[in-house]
């Protein structure tokens, strides 16, 4: 029973492993900015995977949660002069709020409808943001999220420095990872598995499947909103494309590429995706073709994703 032991050991120490990894990660990356991007999209993919991998619900509307978080953070800072930490908090809440609205409608549908309805509702959010240009900057995006200096209990951190910026983002991501692992190990995590595995039995056991899905959607919105807020701080701007459905597709790709049923898979998927995108765009502007082909190949030949395949290989 070596594989089970291995997996169990990884699970036991995953918090420690993650922290060590996060500390050394920027030092091995070609640019610090990529490392920050990978963290942010990794977090976004984790939040998405809580719904897809753990609960089995395929959402194609997560751009609205990520973008919603980014806009909430940006609007709080630009229009209301909120400090950076309040901006992040606003992003977290913004993601959850939009998730609650989209979720309330989308969980009425099931299976394939769910993917289509979440996509359509997210497009609706996109158009609203596009029209409300006084607030969101419309098609120019929300500009001027200028955070240069982070004040933490009297300790000033220069946020312009890429390595500092990385560690600030990493601290939030580490916290989110910890929270997520707690959720997955909690009684609610058990309910999520049960609903994914067999809806009818979960219901017969006494679980309200709809409410469970709704709560999971809102929690997922919290993670994605946090990722969006970090993205807004990182870029100093929220491009309107953040809300477009291609962003939703991006996160689905990342999760699938890494391995949906696994804890770290989405993170690895985000990393591989962004590195691949960077590499390919060095020699051609048509990186989308390569990425699309990689994705198609992944669906056809590696449905378990990179991390899922590795775990399976170990298990054999």
């Amino acid at each position: 029973m070596l594989p089970a032991e291995f997996v169990a050991r990884c699970k036991r120490h995953r918090v420690v492993l993650s922290v060590v990894f996060l500390l050394i990660f920027p030092l091995v990356m070609p640019f610090k900015a990529i490392a920050v991007n990978i963290l942010i999209y990794g977090l976004f993919a984790l939040g998405f995977n809580l719904l897809f991998g753990t609960l089995g619900l395929l959402s194609f509307g997560h751009a609205a949660l990520f973008g919603g978080g980014a806009y909430a953070c940006g609007i709080a800072i630009v229009h209301y002069g909120a400090p950076w930490w309040l901006g992040i908090f606003a992003g977290l809440l913004g993601g959850m709020l939009i998730a609650a609205i989209i979720g309330a409608l989308a969980i009425r549908t099931r299976g394939i409808y769910f993917a289509m309805v979440t996509l359509a509702l997210a497009q609706c959010v996109y158009f609203v943001a596009y029209q409300a240009s006084d607030f969101t900057g419309g098609e120019n995006g929300l500009r001027g999220i200028d955070v240069r200096d982070i004040n933490l209990f009297g300790l000033h951190i220069n946020f312009v420095d890429p390595l500092n910026r990385y560690y600030v983002v990493a601290a939030f991501v580490a916290a989110a990872l910890f929270v997520l692992s707690r959720i997955l190990a909690s009684p609610f995590g058990a309910v999520l598995e049960a609903v994914r595995e067999n809806e009818a039995r979960a219901r017969a056991c006494g679980y309200d499947v709809r409410a469970t899905r709704f709560v999971a959607f809102v929690i997922s919105g919290g993670f994605c909103g946090l990722a969006g807020a970090l993205q807004a701080l990182h870029l100093s701007i929220v491009p309107i494309e953040t809300l477009y459905y291609q962003t939703s597709g991006l996160v689905v790709m990342m999760a699938l590429l890494g391995g949906m049923g696994t804890f770290f898979g989405p993170f690895i998927g985000a990393g591989v995706f962004l590195l691949l995108e960077n590499l390919v765009s060095l020699w051609t502007v048509h990186w989308q073709l390569v990425v699309g082909a990689a994705f198609v190949a992944c669906v056809l030949f590696f449905p378990r994703g990179i991390w899922g395949t590795i775990l399976l290989g170990r298990a054999k």
């Binding site: 409608l105 597709g249 790709m253 990689a294």
Partner: protein, 294 residues
């Protein structure tokens, strides 16, 4: 609200129907694919876009618009056949999410290929001479081309209906949709049926794209936003229901054009608001069967 006369409203209604006709063609294809193959085609918008570009190519080699109406669906439908045979077929029986994800990746590739060949800028697409100008429809003048779009969609509907209801092949398709096992027992190659259905579905999308091109030009991204709208139509009409696709397509078209008359900035949002209302009242759509999606 000055200047909005009953005549104007009726003209706008026709504009809505023309837009709706394009939605109908898209949603018909999508519903066919879902109803018969349980494939949600995320590349549907890309096939729509391809319809416009293949039209440009065919016009470029000297075909006229009328021949395009026939050949564009054939060419794109053949590409659809290839996609089904080599990419989607291996995924049957592996759950409903996989074809969806695959077609999503495929749409990325198709859009990028078109960008490589035709450039990232959109291309103009002239309305055929015969259909330029406006015709008197009793209450005022209305662009002839839009009337033509409505007419083509109506004709396609009739042909599709005849094909499904009155030909032996249509019978097999309908039977296959209900119970593939039976069709297999009867010694019919179900794979070939699926292939044909996929060809028809993507061909319809291409026809929609071709018809839309004179109205808005051709651009690599033209399929992106219409995909979400086609989803709305399919959801509102009820997945897998052809009647639903027709009624919902026209309805959505009219709702969009009416909102753009009164509240132009809300036109895009109104589509999704309509969907939200339908979902609240009837989650399976107008003609969808409850529990089908589980």
């Amino acid at each position: 609200m000055d200047g909005i006369t009953p005549d104007l409203i009726i003209l706008q209604l026709f504009t809505g129907l023309a837009l709706g006709a394009i939605y109908v063609l898209l949603a018909l294809g999508m519903s066919l694919l879902f109803g018969m193959l349980t494939v949600v085609n995320f590349a549907h918008g890309a096939f729509y876009m391809l319809g416009a570009y293949i039209g440009i190519v065919l016009l470029g080699i000297g075909l006229n618009f009328w021949m395009c109406l026939l050949f564009v669906p054939l060419v794109v439908g053949s590409l659809g056949l290839l996609a089904e045979r080599f990419l989607i077929r291996p995924l049957y029986g592996r759950g409903i999410d996989y074809p969806l994800l695959l077609t999503f990746g495929l749409s990325y590739m198709m859009v990028e290929c078109v960008r490589i060949v035709f450039g990232t800028q959109g291309l103009p697409f002239d309305t055929p001479e015969l259909l330029q100008g406006a015709s008197d429809i009793g209450i005022g003048y209305f662009p002839t081309y839009r009337l033509f779009v409505i007419g083509v969609a109506a004709m396609v509907l009739v042909l599709l209906w005849l094909f499904l209801e009155r030909t032996p092949y249509g019978l097999i398709i309908r039977a296959g949709a209900r119970d593939p096992q039976i069709v297999r027992i009867l010694g019919i190659d179900v794979g070939r049926v699926w292939l044909v259905v996929f060809g028809i579905g993507t061909g319809l999308a291409a026809l929609a794209g071709l018809l839309a091109a004179p109205l808005q030009g051709a651009s690599p991204e033209m399929g992106n936003s219409i995909l979400a709208e086609a989803f709305v139509v399919t959801v509102v009409g009820g997945m897998g229901s052809l009647v639903g696709a027709v009624i919902a397509g026209l309805l959505v078209g009219v709702v969009v054009s009416m909102t753009s008359l009164f509240q132009p900035e809300m036109a895009q949002v109104s589509i999704f608001a309509l969907m939200a209302v339908v979902l609240l009242i009837r989650p399976q759509g107008f003609f969808g069967r409850a529990g089908l999606m589980s």
